[in-house]
């Protein structure tokens, strides 16, 4: 029986809203798939397109960016900068052969643990449906949790 494909997803979360929202999902004991690896940044506006490109280059199957809702940015306007950057980066990645559906931007506030759970669950499902990525420059190496541990 074929083992179901487990995508690897990198999540960049702003410290003030979305990271806290992810914490809230935890404190509320909600449940979502284990595929996401969260990297904390002070503001979604801190996210350099380079980080996203790097994640895809390394073999990420999906990249999720989450920040404060428009108007709620802790730094007043960081999420607006990110939104513009995202709008440019997404088609560019698509052009490089990285399916648009693998790159998502969501607004999650500090109190929206439920929303975070829904976003991660649906995004994981979406990426799982698209299937494994063919890495730029060669087929993607499959790694199982056991192999990861063996490193």
């Amino acid at each position: 029986m074929a083992v179901e494909f487990e995508p690897k997803i990198v999540g960049f979360l702003c410290n003030w809203c979305s990271y806290a929202g992810a914490d809230m999902a935890g404190t509320s004991r909600m449940s979502y798939p284990t595929n996401i690896r969260i990297i904390r940044v002070p503001c979604s506006g801190r996210i350099d397109p380079l980080f996203v490109a790097k994640a895809f280059q390394m073999g990420a199957d999906g990249v999720l960016i989450a920040g404060c809702h428009p108007g709620d940015c802790h730094y007043a306007e960081g999420n607006y900068h990110l939104r513009r950057r995202f709008a440019l980066l997404r088609p560019f990645l698509d052009y490089l052969g990285i399916d648009k559906e693998r790159f998502r931007l969501e607004w999650v506030s500090a109190s929206e643990g439920k929303r975070f759970t829904e976003v991660v669950t649906s995004f994981t499902e979406q990426v799982r449906r698209i299937g494994p990525r063919v890495a730029l420059g060669g087929p993607r190496a499959e790694t199982s949790p056991a192999e990861v541990e063996a490193h």
């Binding site: 003030w16 914490d23 284990t34 690896r37 990297i39 904390r40 801190r46 500090a110 541990e149």
Partner: protein, 661 residues
């Protein structure tokens, strides 16, 4: 590297032994141990010991969210002689064990990767040094209700200056609208008014009523706030509050303070005990203002009367038609937000008449009627015909505990004020029979349960467990259809008056204010505290504190306690001579900077200026006191010349890369 079990919170899901084994094999990791509770005294002690014993120069703690204990562990490593910023936290609780309880294998694998990620970051941590800067020992309190009054008085009494900004023409807030308080039936005005007067006469308090916060800049210890003083058209310096103007003003409008039950004049004080006891002119209803607007518009037809009676009668000549809105800019070291609440608008309930039946009123309206200084002089009368009601039906949870109306939460005070109303109605008129439809009776609090029992047993209020399905007018009566779910039978009551216990919701405009202050609010628009249990009056924004119902529904004693709590936080802050700033600021590599100044354009805090080098080149320069560490500049810089300490490009890239090592 320290892996925390957090009792069974983490260890119950994540296989700690495997995480420890995997961590041992990670590059640069020289020491790994696990603790039951790393945040405990022995846990922190083991970190300190290991730093000394193994000559560690950086530390990873794999435990709960950094938003929880980052400060704790920074302090611990600093005590062992390390730079406090040589610490990273792998969040294997909130982001792992707690959300993956049903996938232990996956959670363990994820924990190992999160640990590897933290190792990648910590190995690129640099020593950072917090700087000390001065602070303005002056506090701003937003909202002049009981929470704000208490906070302001306590701060002022601890020796610091306070400015209270209140949107309405008087302080006092919702408590001033209440007639009596449960469960002691103290007269609300009798306990509140002295505090209002104390506040207004306090030498260290400046009261700005009829004013609003426009913008907030700066940070902990050094806020700069713009406040709009709305035009009152009355010079409060010379006005004596004699009352001639509002007794003679011919223009009558519905009183907001009396929730539409009574009238006030266009020049008014909201209620007789208002503080300051000086009037303002309501620009929308004043006849002279309408006259001015009419003439300015150049419209044809009959001109409204010029009126100006108040001006003619004022003995001190205090009416000032030229007065305009004024913007005041003030400096503060701390801000307390106490913006309170409003009651739910029951027009959402079509089945209760959506506000169409005059004799279906809200609890707060009943409160105004019962008040001796209220629109009916303390008599309970039906708004439709002024008759004294004999059969009164209370409906609980109107706009509370009703997900269909978008209000899932309990408003907490309604059960108690219904009991209070039932008791007081009987005291006003022994012939009154109260019926209370309830879902549950929530009476947690000192003397509260006993109070509800009294309403039932001594005052004969009949409690019926169930919801009201429909209210409609039938002749002079209101037909109330409900269900007594305890006996499983429908109930029909012919009522003279129906009182809806409308729930609590945050004040209008609170979201705008939260955005100006960079503080969070939840889906119900209540403001979010830094930690729901342990930091109940702080926010995630240092120097901004909360008090009262703006955080969530609560009764008066709790609100007062929070006012005092917020004041204690402010006083503790002001007891310091300096505050330390976060050293996670932007820094420019002058060798790479080309002086394009894109960073300065994106910086929301105007923290980036330019500097001229000896060779004449103009390059970027970060003002560290203004930089808040958002990193917008670092993401925008084309040459990667500007970077953010604590979240450097190198660190973030290493974190990404670590996931495939």
């Amino acid at each position: 590297m320290f892996v925390c079990h957090c009792g069974t919170n983490i260890a119950g899901v994540v296989d700690i032994a495997r995480v420890v084994e995997a961590a041992k094999r990670m590059p640069q990791v020289v020491y790994v141990s696990d603790n039951k509770y790393t945040c405990s005294d022995p846990g922190q002690g083991s970190i300190k010991n290991a730093i000394g014993e193994h000559k560690l120069d950086r530390v990873v703690v794999s435990a709960c969210s950094p938003r929880m204990h980052e400060k704790t562990f920074r302090k611990a490593v600093a005590q062992a002689g390390l730079n406090p910023y040589m610490l990273e936290i792998a969040n294997i609780r909130e982001h792992d064990s707690w959300v993956h309880a049903f996938d232990k294998e996956g959670a363990t694998a994820k924990a190992i990767e999160l640990v590897r990620l933290a190792v990648a970051k910590v190995s690129r941590d640099a020593q950072l040094h917090a700087r000390q800067i001065g602070l303005t020992k002056r506090a701003l309190v937003i909202g002049g209700g009981i929470a704000g009054i208490q906070a302001a008085l306590d701060i002022a009494n601890s020796g610091h200056e306070v400015v209270v900004v209140e949107r309405e023409a008087t302080i006092g807030g919702r408590m001033a609208q209440v007639d009596k308080t449960f469960p002691t039936l103290d007269c609300s005005a009798c306990i509140l008014s002295p505090k209002m007067v104390e506040l207004s006469s306090h030498p260290r308090v400046t009261l700005l009523t009829y004013a609003e916060v426009v913008s907030v800049k700066g940070f902990l210890g050094n806020f700069e706030v713009e406040i709009r003083q709305k035009a009152r058209k009355v010079d409060h310096a010379s006005c004596t509050g004699c009352g001639t103007c509002w007794q003679k003003c011919p223009e009558k409008v519905k009183s907001d303070f009396d929730l539409g039950l009574g009238e006030r004049t266009a020049i008014y004080i909201p209620f007789p005990q208002a503080v300051p006891p000086k009037p303002v002119i309501d620009l929308e209803s004043c006849r002279y203002m309408k006259y001015l607007a009419f003439t300015a518009s150049g419209a044809e037809g009959k001109k409204p009367p010029q009126c100006r009676i108040c001006e003619k009668l004022c003995p001190t000549g205090s009416i000032d038609w030229e007065q305009k809105d004024k913007i005041l800019t003030e400096k503060f070291g701390a801000i307390v937000v106490a913006t309170g609440f409003k009651t739910f608008d029951h027009s959402a309930y079509g089945e209760y008449g959506a506000g169409a039946y005059p004799d279906v009123i809200t609890g707060l309206q009943l409160e105004r009627m019962m008040s001796a200084s209220g629109p009916t002089g303390g008599e309970v009368r039906r708004p439709s015909d002024g008759a004294h009601p004999k059969t009164v039906v209370f409906v609980s949870c109107v706009g509370s505990r009703d997900e269909a109306k978008g209000r899932a939460y309990c408003s907490k005070v309604c059960c108690m004020y219904i009991a209070k109303h039932a008791i007081m109605l009987k005291e006003h008129d022994p012939e009154v029979q109260s019926f209370v439809f309830y879902i549950d009776i929530r009476a947690g609090g000192k003397g509260y349960e006993e109070f509800v029992r009294r309403a039932q047993e001594e005052y004969g209020a009949i409690y019926l467990r169930g919801r009201v399905s429909k209210i409609y007018q039938e002749g002079r009566k209101l037909k109330v259809l409900g269900e007594d779910s305890l006996i499983g039978r429908p109930v029909e009551i012919d009522a003279d008056l129906v009182v809806l216990a409308t729930g609590i919701e945050p004040s209008t405009g609170v979201v705008d204010l939260a955005q100006r202050l960079s503080i969070s609010y939840d889906t119900d628009r209540f403001l979010v505290e830094a930690h729901p249990k342990l930091r109940p009056v702080e926010t995630q924004t240092d120097g901004v504190f909360l008090a009262g119902v703006c955080i969530g529904p609560k009764d008066i004693p709790e609100t007062v306690a929070q006012g005092s709590a917020a004041a204690a936080k402010v006083a503790a802050l002001f007891s310091q001579e300096y505050i330390t700033t976060d050293p996670m600021t932007a820094t420019v590599d002058l060798m790479k900077c080309t002086g394009c100044m894109l960073c300065a354009q994106v910086c929301p805090f105007k923290a980036i200026g330019s500097q001229t080098m000896r060779d004449g080149k103009v390059l970027a320069n970060v003002n560290e006191s203004l930089c808040k560490g958002c990193g917008l500049c670092a993401a925008a810089c084309r040459g990667k010349a500007i970077d953010l300490r604590g979240f450097t490009n190198q660190q973030l890239l290493a974190e990404v890369t670590s996931l495939w090592q």
